[in-house]
Structures are given as C-alpha cells and as structure tokens.
C-alpha cells in the first residue's frame, strides 16, 4: 500500500472542508432565502394557506380554480402577454436604435450617452410619478405635443382601458438605457475591418447593418431578449404605482393579480400556484428562444 495516499486524502478532505466553510455563508443564504422558499412555495401551491394559520393540503384545487373559475387570471395573463408581445420587441428595437445613434462619432457623444442612460438609474417609482404627469390627458406634455402636431383628440392614456397598456410601453421606452449600454458595448466590439471589407464589396449601409452588425451583436440581442422576456413576464411596479390595475382591469398584470391574492386576499397558496404557473410559462418562453437561437445567434469563430 502506498503510504502517501492516505495523507493526500486527508489533505484533500481538509481542503474540501475549508472550501466548504468559506462557501458556507453563500450556501446558507442560498438554502435559507432561495432554495427553501422556492420548495415551500411549490408545496403551498397545493394548499390553502393564509401565511398566518398552518397550511392545509387541498391538492390541485388552486390550479383548478385558476384555470376554470378566475376570469381575472386569464385577463391578467393576456395583459402580460400583451406586454411581452408588444412592449418587449419595441423596447429591444428602441434600445438598439438609440445605441446605434450613440455609436456615431459626434462631438459631445459622452454627454448624450449619459443623458440617455440617466433615466434607467432613476427609481421606478419616481419615473412612474413623473410619467403620470407627462401622460396627463388634459395638460400632460405628451398630449400637448400631440395637439400641437394636429391630433384633435389625443388618447386619455392611463384612464382609457384601450390606451393604458400602450401608455406603459411608451413610458418603458424612457428606461431603455440599461439595454442600450449593453448594445453599445457590443457595437464597439464589431471590428472595423468587417465594415471596410463590406464597403469595398459595395455593400450599402443597410446591407452592412443586416449582414455585419446584426450577426456580430446577435449574442447580445439574445441576452437582452432573454432578460427582457423574464422582466416583461414579471411586470409589476409601474402598474402598482400608477394604475393599480385599472381602468377596468386593463393594467392588472399577472404579478399584480398575484400580489393582490397574496397580500389583500390572504391567499398565499393560490398566489404560490400562480407563481409556479408563471415560472413554467417563462421557462417555456425562454426555452423556445434558446431552441431557435442556434439559427440566428452567431458566436465569433463558428463556421456557419
């Protein structure tokens, strides 16, 4: 028997122990504040639970009610899908567009970049209250502008069930700075040589964008799409602050409905079930994007 073997094993054990000890704060934090609540919420989703009295197992009742007896569940889901289907692409295009503009070689570009990024670091609540005034139907700047350019009857925005969601999307464009900065970094990374080569081959500006820029920054588009997808499905704060779900449930988004069930109606079990359904929907959405990504996301060095 090799005499060194057990010693090394002892050493390894010791290293392992120390490593675990150093990672312990994070592991404990993860276990207590993330893993446990996650598992508990799955259990509670099969229970009647008001967060005060002990939970009682009711099987699939919460899920059954969500699907068959809660019209607001479907309404809130469709409101949320509206934001995903409309708000998300508009936001992606807008942030890419602004990033392209801010990628120009113009005097004072640093100032412009700062200005466009600034709104995304203001607190959501402050932005929301500001926008309530901008979107004010009578004397908001948005409608003042629309009237100036000849729109006789501008929308009532947040007080009109048809316009309330577009109003929120309009507002979200104000905060595209976060995505914009990421795009900007990606645009800076596209090698000049590629554009030069394309230009020599006679490619137009559009062709350069279509065949050089887009493929080169596609991993970043992919990243922003996934993050945006998750964010859109969890859309909450603005509606909570600005409209509280109204008018006529037009801004009752999924997360807001979930919050009301949990904290106003004492239905934590029901809310947990909603959270798991949202998780599955988001997961499926993200997986679909991942599946298609092989077709449109280009990583440098790959042979296509």
């Amino acid at each position: 028997m090799n005499r060194k073997q057990p010693r090394l094993r002892a050493q390894e054990r010791e290293n392992q122990r120390n490593g675990t000890l150093f990672a312990l704060p994070w592991l404990l934090g993860f276990a207590i504040f993330i893993a446990y609540p996650l598992c508990a919420s799955l259990y509670y989703s099969f229970c009647t639970y008001d967060a005060i009295r002990p939970a009682r197992w009711v099987g699939l009742q919460n899920y059954q009610r969500l699907f068959f007896e809660d019209p607001l569940f479907w309404k809130s889901l469709s409101n949320t899908l509206y934001m995903v289907a409309l708000g998300l692409p508009i936001g992606l295009v807008a942030s890419l567009g602004i990033a392209m503009l801010l990628n120009q070689k113009v005097r004072g570009i640093a100032l412009y970049r700062t200005l466009y990024y600034l709104p995304s670091i203001t607190p959501v609540v402050a932005t929301s209250i500001l926008w309530m005034w901008l979107l004010n139907p009578e004397m908001g700047l948005v409608n003042l502008f629309l009237k100036r350019v000849g729109v006789a009857n501008p929308p009532a925005w947040l007080t009109d069930p048809f316009w309330s969601k577009p109003a929120l999307i309009l507002m979200s464009l104000w905060g595209v700075g976060g995505g914009m900065v990421i795009y900007l970094a990606a645009l800076k990374d596209v090698p000049e040589a590629l554009y030069e080569a394309a230009a020599l081959d006679g490619a137009s500006r559009w062709s350069q964008f279509r065949h050089v820029t887009l493929p080169m920054i596609s991993p970043v588009i992919f990243f922003n799409l996934i993050m945006g997808l998750i964010g859109s499905f969890q859309y909450f704060t603005q509606a909570f602050v600005m409209t509280n779900g109204g008018p006529q449930d037009s801004t009752t988004f999924y997360a807001l409905h979930l919050f009301n069930k949990a904290f106003l109606d004492f239905k934590m079990g029901y809310a947990s079930a909603m959270a798991w359904i949202l998780f599955l929907i988001t997961l499926v959405g993200a997986l679909l994007v991942f599946r298609t990504s092989a077709r449109w996301v280009y990583y440098g060095g790959e042979v296509k």
Partner: protein, 444 residues
C-alpha cells in the same frame, strides 16, 4: 505535527475563537432584547401607521402617557405606507408582533381577529367598566364587534358628506343656501353646474358619483346581513344605487369626464378640481377642510349630507379608522391594555382627533371639547357620525376582497357598460362562496 501540507488550512484555534466570538455577540444581542429600563418599568413596543404631523401628535400623547404612568414605558415605531401594512401581515405570520399596534385597517380587523392572532378585549373592557356599544358611535361600535367579541378599539373616524362650491351654485342659478337634499335634486344641480366649450369638451362639471360601497347604504341597501350572517350583494337597493351611478353615463360622456377630472391630478393636491373651481360638488369628508384651508383658502364653499332617494337613508356616512389591537403573542398584555385603555379614553381621543382634525369616534370625546362643539363643520360631521346611518366594515373575514370586487363591479357597470343586475348577481355568488369557504377554513 509534521504533516506535509500543500496549502495551509485554517488553523483550528482561530476557528474556535471565531465561533466563540459569534456566540458572545449573539449573547449581547439577546441581552439587549431582554433589556428593561429598570426592574419595575415594563417597556412595551407600539407600532403606528400615522406619519408626518400625525405621528408627532401620537408622540406627544405617548410622552404624556409615559409621564403619567411611571411603571410603563411605551416605545413608538412608525410603520408608514403600504409596506407598513404588509409588514404587519408578515409580523403576524412570524409571530414577531409588537405589544400594541394601530396598523390594522378596519377592513382587515375581522380577517385578523378570526384567525386568532388578536387578543379579545372583552374581559379587560368589563374590568375597566367600559361598554363599547355605549361609548362609541353606532357605526364604529358595530364595526368593532366581531362574532360577539371586541378585538380592537379606534381613536379616529371619518364622516362622509358632499362639499360644494357656493360661487358655482350662484352662477348656475342654484340657491347656495339650499343645497340638494334628494338624489333628484343632486342630479339636477350636477347638470346645472356642468359647462362645455363649443367643441363639446368639459370646462367644468357638477358631480360624478363614485364609491358604490358607500352609496349602496344611502339607497337603503347593505353588503352583509349580521342577523342572517349572509352576503347581500344583490340587495335590490344596492342595484338601485348602481343603476343611479350608471345613469350618469347616459347624461355625460363619463370617459371624457374622467379624463377631465384626472387632468387636475388627485383631489387632495393643490391643483385638485374642486379647489380650482372645475368640479362643483365633491364627495369627501371632514379631513378635506384642512386641504381647502391650505390650497384654496379663498374658496367660497359649504357642505351637505349625502342626499338620499325616496325610501333611502338620510345622513348616511361611512365609518372607519385604524384599529388599535393587542396581538395574541404580546407578552405584556396587562401593560398593553393599560396603554390602549388610556389611548382610547375621551381625553386622549379628543386631544389626538383635534390635533389631526379627524372625527372622534368616542361620543364623550366630542362632548367635552370646545373645538368640536364650535367648529361648524365638525359640529355637523360629529352629529352625522353619531346618527343611526353610519356604516363601517362588515365583520366578515373576506371584506378586503369583497370591497375590492365592489369597486371592480362599479367600474365594469359605469365605464364598461355591463349589466348592473348581472354583475351584482355574479358578485353575490362569488362572495357567498368565498365567505363559506373562509368560514370552513377558519373553523378547523
């Protein structure tokens, strides 16, 4: 030891010292929690939801209590805002409640009480020779009695009425000394005060009814029958109230009116439509007097009780307020009660309500106070709050949900044009089911 080492592991003695340090620290923290100011003084912790100058008024009262009760020291903590009330929920869930709190909405009192997290006050009240039914205004007394028990006491309440702009009344050819007394008169006055520009846009409007949960009582309806313990959402009088609200959608373009109203921001800001003369009548309460003094001191205004239709209820008002409770997990119940008993005494209630300009729910508090007797608006408000038609939250655990759903029904009928009859019948079924289930759940 001469064991060869590749990398130096954490020396054991240090680890021990580290652990010892943690233990010592926790011991100090625990000792801090158990601290009492002196052997005979008990410290109790009190959570309040009042903020700003209202919080300061609470602080002054508590200083007075601490001065006059040397064996108890009350420590006040502000839990302001929506997150404060969420925190209450979480505190109950975790059993980490303070000794006394006034951060329970009247709407949620039954929901908490019936879940067994509040201390019933009946024996304390009896011992102190107090009788809620006789001390409090009828609406508040009814609201505080849950399944025959009292779980909380209030120190403020509010009165509903309509404030009106006397100058607009004169301009519209109405007599400002004879404000509307019936629904028909209210409707006529509302129409007379409404003005459009040549394009048909609102320049000013008379009145827009809102808050079905209150107007149902004005029309003679109710949301819950305490005697039969049943939901009464589709009471014919509730339907009449909703139909009346919908009738405004036929006279006016309500979406336009709402946009016009929203244009001025919240009613309680400097630019509120009532303050700037764009709304002739405002369904509000006694608290608005302070706002009017602040934002529109020159406004020529008056007030009148909510007008009723034939067969309805005269001088109806809502009743509410933040409720003082002693959580069941409180460890110093006797001291907590002594504090609560003092806070709800006529002296403390009168002092607090006068400083924050709310209606006192304790009858004796209003009686002995010069301000409440001489201020015309408070004289009027107090008389209404002490009348027989004052209504607080029904003593059912599902009221927070129920109330929100009433709001949704109102919107669906008035703005969405849905059938009021059908909406209230659906609400009836839905709320019956919720209540039955909640009761079954609470009984196990």
């Amino acid at each position: 030891m001469t064991k060869p080492r590749l990398a130096k592991p954490l020396p054991i003695p240090h680890l021990k010292a580290f652990c010892l340090g943690i233990v010592l620290c926790s011991a100090f923290i625990l000792a801090g929690c158990a601290r009492t100011t002196s052997p005979k003084v008990t410290e109790i912790v009190y959570w309040t939801g009042w903020s700003g100058h209202e919080f300061e008024a609470q602080e002054r009262l508590i200083a007075e209590f601490n001065r006059t009760h040397p064996h108890i020291h009350v420590r006040i903590l502000s839990q302001f805002g929506t997150s404060g009330y969420q925190k209450v929920r979480i505190a109950f869930a975790g059993g980490a409640t303070p000794d006394v709190m006034s951060t329970v909405w009247a709407d949620e009192l039954a929901a908490y009480a019936l879940r067994g997290v509040l201390t019933p006050l009946n024996s304390y009240l009896k011992q102190a020779g107090r009788d809620v039914e006789r001390e409090y205004t009828p609406g508040v007394a009814k609201m505080l009695r849950i399944e025959g028990k009292t779980y909380g006491l209030t120190v403020t309440t509010n009165t509903s009425f309509i404030a009106y702009n006397r100058a607009i009344f004169r301009e519209a050819g109405l007599d400002p000394n004879h404000p509307p007394q019936t629904i028909a008169e209210l409707d006529r006055a509302a129409l007379a005060c409404t003005k459009y520009d040549p394009q048909g846009n609102f320049v000013r409007y008379g009145f827009r009814p809102s808050q079905l949960s209150l107007w149902a009582y004005v029309f003679g309806g109710k949301w819950y029958d305490t005697a039969t313990r049943r939901i009464t959402a589709n009471d014919p009088h509730n339907l009449a109230a909703l139909r009346w609200m919908v009738s405004y959608a036929r006279t006016y373009d309500l979406k336009k009116m709402q946009a016009f109203q929203a244009g001025f921001g919240s009613n309680e800001t400097a630019n509120g439509p009532f303050f700037v003369g764009k709304m002739a009548m405002w369904s509000t309460g006694e608290w608005s007097q302070e706002y009017i003094h602040r934002y529109a001191p020159a406004l020529d205004w008056g007030w009148f009780a909510l007008p009723a239709p034939p067969g309805g209820r005269d001088k109806t008002t809502g009743a509410g307020g933040s409720v003082f409770v002693i959580p069941a997990a409180c460890r110093h119940k006797d001291e907590a009660w002594e504090f609560l008993n003092w806070m709800s005494s006529p002296h403390a209630v009168a002092s607090f309500c006068q400083s924050i300009k709310n209606v006192p729910p304790v009858i004796a508090a209003a009686k002995g106070n010069t301000f409440f007797q001489t201020d015309p608006l408070f004289h009027f408000s107090i008389a209404i709050s002490q009348g027989k038609n004052s209504f607080g939250a029904p003593p059912i655990p599902t009221w927070p949900t129920y109330r929100r759903e009433i709001g949704r029904v109102e919107e669906a009928a008035v703005l969405g044009g849905e059938d009021p009859d059908k909406l209230l019948n659906t609400l009836q079924k839905q709320m019956e089911k919720e209540l039955i289930e909640s009761r079954e759940d609470l009984q196990r």
